[in-house]
Amino acid sequence: MLNFSKIKIVLIYLSFLAVSFFCFSNISDSNNFFLKKKINLGLDLQGGSYLLLEVDSTPLQKRQIQSKVIPLKKKLIENNINYKNFKIKENIILFEINTDEKERFEKFFKDKNNDINIYLNQYRSFELDYVFEKNLVKIFLSKNGIIKLNTSAVDQSIEIVRKRIDETGTKEPSIIKRGSNRILVELPGIKDPERIKELLGKTAQLSFRMVTDDKTEFGIETFILKDTQEKISVSKRIILTGDNLIDANPKYDNINQEPIVAFTLNRLGSQRFGQATSKNIGKRLAIILDNEAISAPVIRDAITGGQGTISGNFTFQSATDLSLLLRSGALPAPLSVVEERTVGPDLGQDSIDAGVFSLIIGFFLVIIFMIIKYRLFGLIANISLISNLLMLIGFLTLLEATLTLPGIAGIILTVGMAVDANVLIFERIKEELRKNISNNIQAFDLGFKRSVVTILDANITTLIASIILFIFGSGPVKGFAVTLSIGLITTLFSAYFISRHLTSIIVLRNREKKFLI
């Protein structure tokens, strides 16, 4: 165990140097490929905001169920099923059929090629589920149908969330999907996420509809106008939605200098808007945003150029925000913040200071203790500890890992536990020396050999725990698992190669002298 070939020695120190070299890239400004890598600071250290958003797909579910009504009725008639009392309650379609019709219903409803209850190949299940209660049939979205709806809503939302955040000028936001219905947004350096939360909290579904009392065609809804508090009834027929918008900007109105939003429509939108406005001159057009009527101006002229404005008691800020929302597009469903963690930059800096300070002190305490306890071999343990620390930081840089406050704690803990490997070896050698062994070399040889298994066992157990923590932990705690796991690996390397090599140098020079440790 004490004989190292020259090649081995070179390899050991080369790999040590290669890894620990990356420590320096953290303090270098160079843009060189090797020096570019840096340890990322977690939000708890650099300050910033962590927002977990959840898509509320209930309105989507309702819409999805509603979209099934007409084709379903058609299909029932096609199959000679006499349904009665057809109605929709929340997200459930209800109707009654005769007992002998149930079989026919099931036959078409569970056909994998039917176009109402779509078979979802990736989930191996249907989009809809149904139950019979005597003659009553209840149809609702299946578990996987909801998951699919959520997933597609999240996929659509992510792009829009990114656009909205980019519009605010936030640097390096990270926006990722979490599970089937969540989006994780990390905003480094943001001190106050309130504006972003406000922007993300609105779906910004815009529609233009006529003010009318005529219930016959599509039905009407009543709204209270936001600017004048007037009660208006609005047709359910949508002339235009925000989807037809290609641009929106805040402006001041020429006449009374009020902030307004000026928008530009795409070609299809311009055509439709032109037609609707030319047919309805003198009537009022309601502008509905997220189920709120913001204004209902009277149409004075046909608007054919695809340019229009929205007024509605805006401040310049709210006009700016609305323009931003309209530019980035509507969210398919409302997003709500289910978890939020914001750390100010000064607390982050305080945490770094405290963390680094306690790391330095902890490190020196351990080093001093080892010197007192083992003298010369304490020095070896300490050299191995320092190289361990350098390699740990080097690895973190190489992987561009995220360092969090618990992560710093993980490094300190590694310092405390890393000497264990050395202690196991030294104690074992001591024991061997006490026995009737002829010379130092044999004792060291046996000591190393016998302690290796124990060192592996002992470190693997801690590694198992920290890998599980890495899988299940979230945010800062994950950072702890990262540093602890890497620390265990560098510990094994530095104990098995570096300590052993340094020990071998001393032992080979002192073959006869007894009891070195």
Partner: protein, 302 residues
Amino acid sequence: MKKEYNYNFIKKFKMANLISIVFVLISLILIIFKGLNFGIDFKGGTLIELRVESNNIKINDIRSAFSNMDLGDLNVKEFGKKGDYLIKFEKKEFNKAVNIKSIKESVVNKLGVDVNFRRIENVGPKVSAELLNSGLIAICLALGAMLFYIWIRFEWQFSLGSIVAIFHDVLITIGIFSILSLEVNLSIVAAVLTIVGYSMNDTVVIYDRIRENLSKYSSSTIDDVSNTSINETLSRTIITSVTTLLALGSIYVLGGEILKGFSLAMIIGVIIGTYSSIFVASPILKYLRVSYKSIAKEEEKN
């Protein structure tokens, strides 16, 4: 040459086990009846850490600035430096009328001074339930994985012994958190998992030695073998706990308020873990009648 340790641990096993059983029982009773002081991670709610530079603001002013806002159960405490406060309240979900923005504005208005909101955390009810769940799953998985590892590496008596020792450590650590009403949050789960790893590590070192010595001194009783093995590894056991505790103590004292709970849990866990590998894990081998013969038989079977 320093004399090697030669304490008689066996004589103290009975007493130590009795104490352990009492402590575990008390911990269980505390955990069941007194419960744990869950932080917002697991209970849901909101946490605000703020700093006021003005000397005229007292803790009561902070408390009254937050009251009358219908925030539910409110808890205000000083946090580290003078002028730093930690405010926790029950309110989990916000709406247009009451939200973080409105709370911040109202607090600044009521206090009439500049307030530095250093940290704001809000955990909704769904997420907190999920975090608690995944924390528990993580701990169970870690225990299971340890059991599995030790089961392939050692004989079943050893796995049972080490698992009992881990349960002992984790339960008493949580029991201490219960009796002192210390906050249990995500970082405590991390601490518990690390304690599991550390305790296992410590136990494995002694078990390795016991197994080695069982075959070396095949005619000796398990009592003698345990005692020799504990003594032989005692020096290492102590040194490693000391260096680990030095590192943890440094985090506890100097690492800032946020790491206090975590490092305290670890300190408690390391002390108990060290104790248990000697006084819990080793006697169990004796109770399970481990001997050179039983080990040889097991090995033959495998």
